[in-house]
Assembly symmetry: none
DNA sequence: GATGAATGAGGGTTCATTCAT
DNA sequence: TATGAATGAACCCTCATTCAT
């Protein structure tokens, strides 16, 4: 049941694994607690499954990147997609961050996989540096920094709205945020 | 009792308000649950108090900024302090982010205060732009971005260590991180 | 469905009425829980029915006793059959004992019937005593004692195997047990 | 708390580990379920503890046996004590039997210890045989048989009362039962 | 006749908090 | 000030049973 996972991600994003209650997840999904437990084996397993789902979402989000793109095209597309998704589904990034802040006990094995991708990306960044396309940077930290910038708007959405004076009813100007973040990174990498 | 607050921040950082247990806080503080409840009125109040304390920590961290500093000096100091603190006390940033991700129900009134400071900072940034010291940027988003970059290393500390291959025993190279983040921001703001 | 009853007796023997789960009975019978409930009205009724079945088994086991047999022939046959059945189907004796240990709420009416048989058997034993075939004994207690001796090997089967050093794969020597129990009773009754 | 264990043994005797409810144990002990859980760690542990207690009771019951006693003195004392205890505290024998019927998952290690005692007792019995004090018997089965005879009156107490026509108010004639069982065994062992 | 979905009641256990001393 | 005992509410989950098809 799709809506159970959605409800779970929202609840886990707000309250973490321990703080989330199956009662609340059921309420969010519009079903009874008993019915929820008919579909899931346990809270822990639902958590695990939701986490896996999130990882899948992000994999899908970037699975059409073209290797021979220039840094600008690549980074703009990456940042744009990530921020757009962050603003539309902040609960996804939040649940993920929640897990990371717990010490990520359920993600250690994912990191093993992820490490390889990070390393490959680092090599690519270094080739950009070698080609003089961007200034010399630590390729790992650059990845963390971009991740930080794009995640942030999901985590701090209410604060951002508040500070910008954008009420909950109105949409945030996603393109403006994308432009600013992209600009910071572009200029920040200029040789 | 100082150590209760410290224990509370660590527990709240990991498990959030709902997920934190007074039992666990007591254990972290090395006292009995009963004793803990002798010192605190309720879990909620302890949470509130810890949050206020965190805000105080950050206020203190930046209360000697000099208004007439040039952007470079100011930003470097700000970023350096924030990242250093993030790496030394990640639980502080984590508890804060946890509260924000919950929708920050206990921080709305803080935002009211904070908004003013944010606005003042924006004016200062705009004056830098007007003086040609940095390129034109959205001053609010710039603040968010810097915040994002400096918070990140607290939230994702274990992941960062893992990806960089730095074991828990060894210290992370804080200065290197500060250099890279500062460089990104400096170059990113170059006129 | 025959296999449901068999599954039920096994489960009830191990866990009692309250501790038995329809889930487990269904699993033992190789069907789904829903299907089980299609065939039975309720757990309680299945229990009742199984109990009645057990009583029937024992009635059948001894329904060809010949009244004019001498004590030796009668007792040997009785003991032999009972012990053989105990070793082959320990779950039957176990479920019965389980019910008795609960206070036998579902067997009170059976006892009414049983009492008559017990009384008739007592008269027969007394006639043996009167005829000088066995030494004077309390005929009721003798019946209890024989029952105790023959039931025991069903209830304590694993313990008996363990103490005798007979692995689960190998068969217990039923005839040896029968011989020893019979001998004890025979000698115990010698005038 | 002594009364909790007593309540637990009664409840476990009637309903087994699975069938027993902490609710019911609490009710029997005259306390609330919450209070019960203040004193115990878990139902399983309480069960384990009660089982250990029972084993201790029986050890105590026979710890003053004198090795140089003749068979008659020894057996009479043993049988008398065991039956008296069975009639006074049938729930103890019942809980034990309940565990055995489950397959005794929590007693396997006790059997290891018990095996040694059983073997020693067997040697003693064999010495009696060698000395011509009793007729040749399988020493292990003899022990099982005596155990069966003495346990039985605890397990089947209500049935025994019913068949003997002794109402719950009146006391059972324990000495008569002891006499009959002892006589059966004595005669049964006569050379 | 047969089966996946659903459900109210209750299971054992933990919780934050209060009481009694 | 300090602490073992106690407690009502809530927790996650399983249960026997019924529903809908």
């Amino acid at each position: 049941m799709e809506k159970i996972r959605q409800a779970a991600i929202e609840e886990f994003a707000e309250n973490g694994l321990r703080g989330a209650s199956t009662q609340a997840i059921a309420r969010r999904a519009g079903i009874s607690k008993t019915k929820l437990h008919y579909y899931i084996a346990s809270k822990e397993e639902l958590y695990q499954e939701a986490l896996t789902h999130i990882i899948g979402i992000w994999a899908e989000l970037f699975n059409d990147v073209v290797d021979d793109e220039d840094p600008q095209s690549f980074l703009r597309r990456y940042i744009a997609r990530k921020i757009r998704h962050s603003l539309e589904h902040p609960e996804v990034a939040r649940m993920f961050t929640n897990e990371v802040m717990r010490g990520a006990p359920m993600m250690r094995e994912y990191w093993d996989t992820s490490r390889h991708a990070t390393q490959k990306a680092s090599e690519r960044i270094e080739s950009w540096v070698a080609d003089g396309l961007i200034r010399p940077v630590d390729p790992f930290l650059l990845q963390f920094n971009i991740w930080a910038l794009t995640q942030h708007y999901a985590l701090h959405l209410p604060e951002v709205r508040f500070m910008l004076g954008v009420d909950e009813g109105q949409p945030l100007d996603a393109e403006h945020i994308i432009d600013e973040v992209t600009a910071l990174v572009f200029h920040g990498l200029r040789p």
